[in-house]
């Protein structure tokens, strides 16, 4: 097998024709998101070009400090993305979310690279792409979980008050909501596990096959990364919610979290 064919800059530009087709169709159907798609594709292009140059530099000059810097930037960005969406949560909860995401993502990553692959923890070729997949998916899972959790708190206020009046500890009132949020976070991973190989060929495996890796090796990596993603999502959401719910009530067992009022749409 050979490596992936190089794409020339003009041939590469051809792919944008497909995007133009989408934009025309959206404009014709008067879909509101046309502008967003345009901005999103420009952002994607700019971000990936930048990251392409940075990674090329890091791979050509492998140094632990550079790998660590890249990893840190990735974590800071993902924590910021999650926390900035949850304006209503208290600072302590936000810190717990950040620490859970960081600790769970990094420990799963370390286990994968050290124990399963037997590579150096600072080898950029492994650390950077795998960290991106693991932390990125943990971030998406955390976003889903927190959105579900806060929405349910807002919609189940009456139930929570009734149970509080009945003498149920706030933690036991919140526990089922946290469980529901964890399920919500895991559903996309579970769904993609089920469809994988039959309905679609996953991105990492496709990438490896394109670059010449044997499909039998590529599937092993794919299975590993799926389980690692599942573990990172589960661990980070579980830790964040188990510790985070304790910040939502005070010493008198009264709820202190006031859900954000939804703006009328």
């Amino acid at each position: 097998m050979s490596g992936a064919a190089d794409i020339g800059i003009f041939s590469f530009a051809l792919i944008y024709l497909l995007l133009v087709v989408v934009l025309i169709l959206m404009r014709k159907s008067k879909i509101a998101k046309t502008r967003e798609l345009l901005i999103a594709s420009l952002r994607m292009t700019a971000q990936l070009v930048l990251v392409g140059f940075i990674l090329t530099y890091i791979f050509q000059n492998p140094h632990p400090a550079l790998t660590l810097a890249f990893l840190s930037a990735m974590i800071v960005f993902s924590v910021h993305r999650v926390v900035s969406r949850q304006k209503g949560l208290n600072l302590k909860f936000k810190i717990i979310v950040g620490v859970s995401l960081c600790a769970s993502g990094l420990s799963v990553l370390a286990y994968f690279i050290l124990a399963v692959l037997g590579q150096s923890i600072l080898n950029p070729q492994y650390v950077i792409p795998l960290a991106g997949m693991i932390i990125g998916n943990a971030m998406t899972g955390m976003n889903l979980a927190l959105a579900n959790f806060t929405e349910n708190i807002a919609s189940q206020k009456q139930k929570m008050d009734a149970l509080l009046n009945l003498g149920v500890h706030p933690q036991n009132i919140l526990k089922p909501l946290a469980g529901g949020a964890l399920t919500t976070a895991l559903i996309p991973t579970i769904n993609s596990m089920v469809g994988m190989g039959i309905i679609f060929l996953p991105g990492m495996m496709t990438g490896q096959i394109l670059s010449g890796t044997l499909p039998t090796t590529a599937i092993l990596y794919q299975i590993c990364i799926m389980i690692a993603i599942c573990a990172a999502v589960c661990l980070s959401v579980f830790a964040a919610l188990t510790l985070g719910v304790k910040t939502l009530y005070n010493g008198n067992c009264q709820f202190t979290y006031v859900p954000e009022q939804k703006k009328p749409s």
Binding site: Q158, K159, D161, A162, L163, L164, N165, L166, G167, V168, H169, N172, I173, N252, C253, Q254
Partner: protein, 210 residues
């Protein structure tokens, strides 16, 4: 005799001033007053689901803020004005509330007896989804009563009922509480109900505003 509850210079949120109140033990107390005079908030202060901004509330002589909040609420149950029921049958509702309280569920005959005393002619298998507002309120109150607390705080327990049913339900409810030795404090708009059942009336007037 030591009062069931009493308060000292009690204030809430900077806009409700209750001052010094006393709720004698062994008497059914009715709290009356205009909307916004702080009746519901007072009940929350008594079962510790809200805390005063100033002053203190006492339960049998003990400062409520120093008591174990969950243990207090199990002893002093508050039936709020807006009933909450789970989706499902009457039995599933009892089971869900009992599950949260980590208490063994009631048997069907116990549930049926309770329903009858609240004039609810339903089977434990009946779906609560189809219940009217008044039926939901009665079932909700029945579930809370079934825990037989030492004190039952009721917030407008008959607000969703017509006069005749309200009167009948309250009679049955107060009879059950008397038999079980459960103290009752209830908020009510209805002068008629207060006139009929109250043994001690506390009127929160405009003076509650400061």
């Amino acid at each position: 005799m030591e009062p069931l509850f009493h308060t000292e210079s009690l204030r809430f949120g900077g806009f409700l001033q209750y001052g010094d109140l006393s709720f004698p033990a062994g008497k059914i107390t009715f709290i009356t007053g205009e909307s916004g005079s702080g009746k519901s908030t007072l009940l929350k202060l008594l079962n510790g689901t809200a805390s005063p901004s100033e002053g203190k509330a006492f339960y049998r002589g003990q400062d409520i803020s120093s008591l174990d909040a969950v243990a207090l609420r199990r002893e002093v149950l508050l039936v709020s004005q807006e009933p909450f029921l789970f989706d499902g049958t009457v039995r599933e509702n009892f089971d869900a509330f009992y599950g949260y309280r980590e208490t063994p569920p009631l048997r069907d005959d116990q549930i049926k007896k309770l329903l009858q005393s609240f004039l609810l002619d339903f089977d434990p298998d009946a779906q609560t989804r189809t219940f009217s507002g008044g039926e939901r309120q009665r079932l909700y109150t029945a579930i809370f009563l079934s825990f037989w607390p030492k004190v039952l705080l009721l917030d407008e327990p008959t607000s969703a009922l017509d006069n005749v049913t309200g009167m009948a339900v309250l009679t049955a409810l107060l009879d059950s509480c008397r038999e079980a030795g459960t103290e009752v404090i209830t908020v009510s708009h209805s002068r008629q109900l207060a006139g009929q059942f109250s043994q001690n009336t506390l009127h929160l007037g405009k003076e509650a505003f400061h």
